[in-house]
């Protein structure tokens, strides 16, 4: 019987450029922030390479988040974060149609569950308005339950945030990378940055595969941001990975809520978010646990039980629905509670670090900010006009299984078709890891977790490898 290595189903990607090529910009890290920056610089004519140590995009912090497009109503006032969140939000709205990206304006409710929390709502409202988020309303218990009849009647009052929305956290960054490629960018996956040398004009970045030359480096290395940053010679910040554990409920629970249910932050507890996802599930989480390790995203039974308990308290009928997945994500928090963006002009180095939780929303705005910070002009490229193909896997746009000629459905829980899987494997920026395939298609992410399809999918990958 043939042995199959489930952790090694994809060929290692190589880069299609020579070592003597000199780039204008090298972006280190293909998380959502790196992908956004790559797109921005490519589209503005900079000769750009995106360097990533893993074999696919979104393998670090960006693989696990709550998939919400935020308005910035609760962002720190007058901060770079607030600016970038607002710009990023607007930019996403602008490009979503063209890229077939989903956007579901569910709105959010910041729900107060105690009198102590009710008292805080005014301040949250004021902060939101000051942040320039105009569409906010204070609503009473009756209105909360009218909007959310399944929520526990303990809900005292809430702030309704009109703009908060759901997006696909995985296929949107993929779209950004594809836009960058279309504008002439280059990719270097499985190129782990080891060291670098600046000769006063150009960086020579040593990676696990080839040495890459670039005039300016943009460090978007997320969880490894401080390590990569030390290459430039000085250490400005320290990454303190913050783990967040999540629970995902089955699609049968989808109708239980209409909006994103946010907690009122208090000093004692951060509370838990209950939200729908773009894929038709209910997500509960995250926790916030600081840790040393940049890789360990283990889940803890005790914590998950607490999360589950909390979710049942707030939304009792959730008890009747299956839990389909549990996972933990690591956020690249730093030793200060804000974005760590800084330009070292004399060294042609820009640090984009500590993007600890709003990166999915802010990435496109952050990219524009970084481009302005760089303050260099490039000759605008001629972009090929061929449309970019992004497979929709969200439930509120037309899915492939509702069309025809898709061959057959391979993953029954998530209704993933053979055509979707083949596209994800063979199209430009194809899946480079099993996680990457899951993020592009949702295979094995449903209630049976591969009982029915894992063997078939592993064998499809194994075959397409050779």
């Amino acid at each position: 019987m043939k042995q199959i290595d489930l952790n090694n189903l994809f060929p290692k990607k190589t880069a299609d450029f020579n070592e003597d090529e000199i780039f204008d910009i090298a972006v280190i890290g293909a998380g959502v922030v790196g992908c956004g920056i790559f797109k921005e610089f490519c589209e503005n004519g900079a000769k750009t390479v995106l360097i990533e140590k893993e074999n696919d995009i979104l393998e670090g912090a960006s693989k696990g988040n709550s998939a919400i497009l935020h308005t910035g109503f609760d962002a720190p006032p007058d901060s770079l974060e607030l600016d970038c969140v607002k710009r990023g939000y607007a930019e996403y709205i602008k490009i979503k149609e063209k890229l077939n990206l989903p956007f579901l304006n569910t709105k959010a409710l910041v729900v107060a569950w105690s009198d102590e929390q009710v008292e805080k709502l005014d301040a949250i409202l004021k902060k939101g308005l000051n942040n320039g988020v105009k569409e906010l309303e204070l609503i009473d218990n009756k209105e909360v339950l009218k909007r959310e009849p399944n929520l526990s009647s303990e809900a005292k009052a809430a702030i309704l945030v009109h703009g908060e929305s759901l997006i696909d956290p995985w296929n949107s960054p993929l779209a950004y990378v594809k836009l960058g490629l279309q504008a002439g960018g280059k990719l270097a996956f499985s190129h782990e940055v080891k060291d670098g040398h600046f000769n006063g004009d150009c960086w020579e970045i040593k990676t696990s595969q080839k040495t890459i030359k670039a005039k300016t480096v943009i460090n978007a290395a997320g969880l490894y941001g401080d390590i990569v940053d030390s290459i430039k010679g000085s250490k400005d910040f320290k990454i303190i990975p913050r783990k967040g554990q999540f629970i995902i409920f089955d699609k049968s629970a989808y109708e239980l809520i209409n909006s994103i249910i946010l907690p009122v932050p208090t000093k004692i507890t951060k509370g838990v978010v209950i939200t729908k996802t773009a894929f038709g599930n209910i997500l509960v989480g995250p926790t916030a646990e600081d840790q040393e390790s940049r890789t360990s995203s283990i889940t803890k039974a005790e914590t998950l039980k607490q999360l589950q308990q909390k979710a049942y308290e707030l939304l009792p009928s959730l008890k009747n629905h299956d839990i389909v997945a549990t996972f933990a994500g690591l956020r690249p928090a730093s030793d200060k509670n804000h974005y760590r963006v800084k330009i070292n002009d004399d060294k042609n180095w820009i640090t984009v670090g500590g993007i600890r939780s709003t990166g999915l929303t802010s990435s496109l705005g952050l990219a524009k900010y970084v481009f302005e910070l760089n303050a260099r002009k490039y000759k605008k490229p001629k972009v090929k006009s061929s449309p970019i193909y992004i497979q929709n896997i969200s439930e509120f746009k037309e899915r492939d299984y509702k069309s025809s000629d898709y061959k057959k459905i391979i993953c029954h829980c998530e209704c993933v078709t053979q055509r979707e899987i083949e596209n994800a494997l063979t199209s430009e920026v194809g899946a480079g890891t099993i996680g990457g395939l899951k993020r592009r298609t949702r295979v094995t992410m449903g209630r049976c977790q591969g009982f029915n399809c894992q063997a078939a999918i592993s064998n499809i990958c194994e075959k397409s490898k050779s």
Binding site: K2, I298, N320, T326, G435, A455
Partner: protein
């Protein structure tokens, strides 16, 4: 919209035996739907022996048993539509996703024979890493028997139901070494003889009463499992973990479309005549309650044919049921409704969630009408007789467990 007389969703043992029996009775307008590209259901990937004795008087392997059922159905010209995935039920309309686009069917009688699946790792809340090397028995058997591949070399099996020992045999067949079989309860969850048999003849440690503390590893590669008993930890090196058993009905689509859903069984309510709360819908086989053996499903399917025949011949026969409620100390029970049209000797058959010494009490309108002493394991089928007490349409029947 396609109109047919009888639609059966699921081409496993229950669905196929029903179709065959209906065909024997002279029905022709039957369509069996299945989402897979091959009919036969779960036995297709149970590569070991143990099937067919009661149905065909021969000892068969799962795949041979599935083939046998399919070939009988084909000989009878039963229309089996494969790669039809049921994605919705709109009132009485079945909505399938197919390669030819969405297809809708309305049948005079629809039978849901959707089967069951195992409970994977996430809802069990086991600490540790995520890894593709953490799989279910179903996935393991598909790797081995349908793709001729072994997904790892040394594994630990979690659970001790019959299917766990089936996982053990499958692993052995693929040359995968089983380092231990681990059960959190104090006793194994199936015939106690399996423990000494596995230990003596296969030299596989069967560890009962252990807590599974964590699955350890790096870069998505499982390296070991830590278990614990009486405060002492033990770490077993392995590169794969198999979560076995805890079967649950494949009922997600029903949860959306049936107003009355039985959350104890994670399925629809059914009467002893397999009738659901929708008069045109029946349910049969493991979708009722998680997994029982294939022959049990086969004979249920066969039995259901009579009731379908009745309901088609006597259009005026209106279903009359009374729901039975159980608390969640019960693993599953079926039937979950008393059928007032069809007197039955049994009220229901149930299993308990935890090993229980105590009594089972049945009440009608909060008056106890029946009680029975039990000493039940989690795999004991407890039959509760119907008794002579009167039950009518608006009564409330409850079953509770007292220790």
């Amino acid at each position: 919209m396609n109109k047919i007389q009888i639609a059966i969703v699921g081409a496993g043992p229950a669905g196929l035996s029903l179709a065959i029996e209906l065909s024997n009775m002279g029905y022709e307008d039957i369509v069996v739907f299945d989402r897979e590209d091959e009919a036969g259901g779960t036995p297709r990937h149970c590569g070991h022996l143990g099937f067919g004795i009661f149905e065909f008087y021969r000892l068969l392997s799962g795949p041979d048993y599935a083939k046998k059922l399919v070939s009988i159905a084909k000989d009878k010209n039963i229309d089996i539509k494969l790669t039809h995935t049921l994605v919705d039920i709109e009132k009485n309309t079945l909505v399938f996703s197919t390669n030819d686009g969405i297809q809708k069917y309305v049948a005079k009688k629809t039978v849901l024979a959707l089967g069951a699946r195992e409970t994977p790792r996430p809802p069990r809340f086991i600490s540790g890493i995520r890894s593709p090397n953490i799989i279910t028995t179903g996935a393991l058997q598909r790797f081995i028997y349908m793709h001729d591949t072994a997904p790892f070399k040394n594994a630990v099996i979690i659970g001790s139901e019959v299917v766990s020992f089936s996982a053990l045999m499958s692993a052995k067949h693929a040359g995968i070494k089983i380092k231990a079989l681990i059960e959190e309860e104090k006793n194994i969850n199936s015939f106690s003889i399996l423990k000494p048999l596995s230990e003596l003849f296969l030299r596989i440690p069967v560890k009962v009463g252990y807590e599974i503390k964590s699955i350890n590893g790096e870069n998505k590669q499982v390296q070991s499992v830590t278990i614990s008993k009486d405060g002492i930890d033990e770490t077993i090196e392995c590169d794969g973990v198999i979560f076995s058993g805890k079967f649950t009905p494949e009922s997600s689509v029903l949860k959306k479309s049936f107003k009355d859903f039985n959350y104890v069984n994670n399925s629809v309510f059914v009467s002893s005549a397999f009738q659901t709360t929708n008069k045109n819908f029946f349910a049969v086989g493991n979708v009722l309650r998680g997994a029982l053996t294939a022959f049990k499903c086969y004979f249920e399917g066969k039995k259901l044919a009579k009731y379908i025949d009745d309901s088609l011949k006597h259009e005026k026969l209106r279903p009359l049921h009374v729901k039975i409620a159980c608390d969640d100390t019960i693993q599953w029970y079926y039937p979950s409704m008393v059928d007032l049209n069809y007197p039955s000797k049994t009220l229901t058959t149930l299993r308990v969630k935890k090993k229980t010494i105590g009594k089972i009490i049945v009440s009608v309108n909060n008056i106890d009408v029946y009680e029975k002493q039990i000493n039940a394991k989690t795999y004991t089928n407890i039959k509760i007789p119907r008794g002579n007490y009167p039950v009518s349409k608006n009564d409330t029947i409850k079953i509770r467990l007292e220790n």
